[in-house]
Subunit: 210 residues, 2 copies
Amino acid sequence: MSKKSKVDPRIKRTNKYLRNALVELLKEKDVTSITIQEITEKAELTRGTFYLHYQDKQDFLMQSMNEVLEELIEQVKPKQNNEDSSEVEEKDESVSFLKLFEFIYEHASYFKVMLSDRGLPQFRSHMTEIVKKRVYGELISSIGEAEDGLGIPKDILISYITSAHIGVICSWLESDMKFSPAFMAEKLTSLTLLGPMRVAGLENKIKLPY
Amino acid sequence: MSKKSKVDPRIKRTNKYLRNALVELLKEKDVTSITIQEITEKAELTRGTFYLHYQDKQDFLMQSMNEVLEELIEQVKPKQNNEDSSEVEEKDESVSFLKLFEFIYEHASYFKVMLSDRGLPQFRSHMTEIVKKRVYGELISSIGEAEDGLGIPKDILISYITSAHIGVICSWLESDMKFSPAFMAEKLTSLTLLGPMRVAGLENKIKLPY
DNA sequence: AAACTTAATATACATAATGTTCATTAGTTT
DNA sequence: AAACTAATGAACATTATGTATATTAAGTTT
């Protein structure tokens, strides 16, 4: 049960070809209009081979999506303090957002198409859940489990922050990563902690309507 | 060129049936796996009738999406001051967010499915653009056209705020509109103006990592 | 290196959805 | 009532899907 599972290299190869073909096709057309035919053609495989591994298109899309996102979850997961370790690794929670940006940077072309409206809608919602968990974790570590007493319903707060994160990630991808992961992680954190207006330096120029 | 265009009532009827059928089907399965057959069947029309009006499924989806969203744009658009009017209607910009929530409330079941991952991905991106324009408008009215001098790149700022709005709208829809449009508009505005942490009352409890 | 095992291929086939055509019926407009 | 046009019904060619099977090729075991 160790790291290296003995998966037939032909299977690995086939999966790789299929996934690469998918990404290539997603650069040209949206996921809906891509057929299994096209995928296997571009992958230079038989259509029968596809059905040897996946039930249908949806199954294939979900599996390849999950592979990437499970890897992402691994990366972003805060290091669990080794119980035996004398050094408690009390690392900053927000480092995980840096790791998030770094991981996305590594797989930029995949994330870019999948988060665009050509990609699988489920990809976005899956990613949103992942980010939400992290946001939630950050908040709890700051304020405890306090259910209310907040000035605002918790789910609104969490949705606001989470979705803001996703939006910034998308715009970063669309700009072809104009800024470094570190820069993005820092800005994103201060946007949330200080609020967008204060970060922009517009604090006094705004009028509160209510 | 007045309001009422003389469109054959049969066409209106057909379109209505098709759109209703779509919404019904979207409650059960995702847009990808819905066929033209099913749509026309549920609408109790011939498949040939469908092709009388639309090129293909995508065309149909886009057209019905645009109908709804153009109506939304109309609603959300700030009233243009009548030049001749002695009373300049200097209404609060943020009223437009109230109108946004009210419109969505009226069409909740449609927005709910379309923004879910069963819906058209283009719907989300289209809506994001609409909201972005309004966010942009609000910002400019507060700070002028200032390109920089902001403490943060403008597109990051705009994306953060815009996407946060969409996220709050989605979570509101998913909760089946637990709160009133007015409540939502107010919370959303203060989240942005004051920042999520200040609104939540967590301002002092947080640690700034950088 | 030979024998075993399994992945990939080539091919064929049934099924389902698409998109088009056209004559006929039914509903609207003038 | 006549003219117009939308909707129907039916047929048809085309394309993608999903399944099955015998054969070839590649990887694993002994």
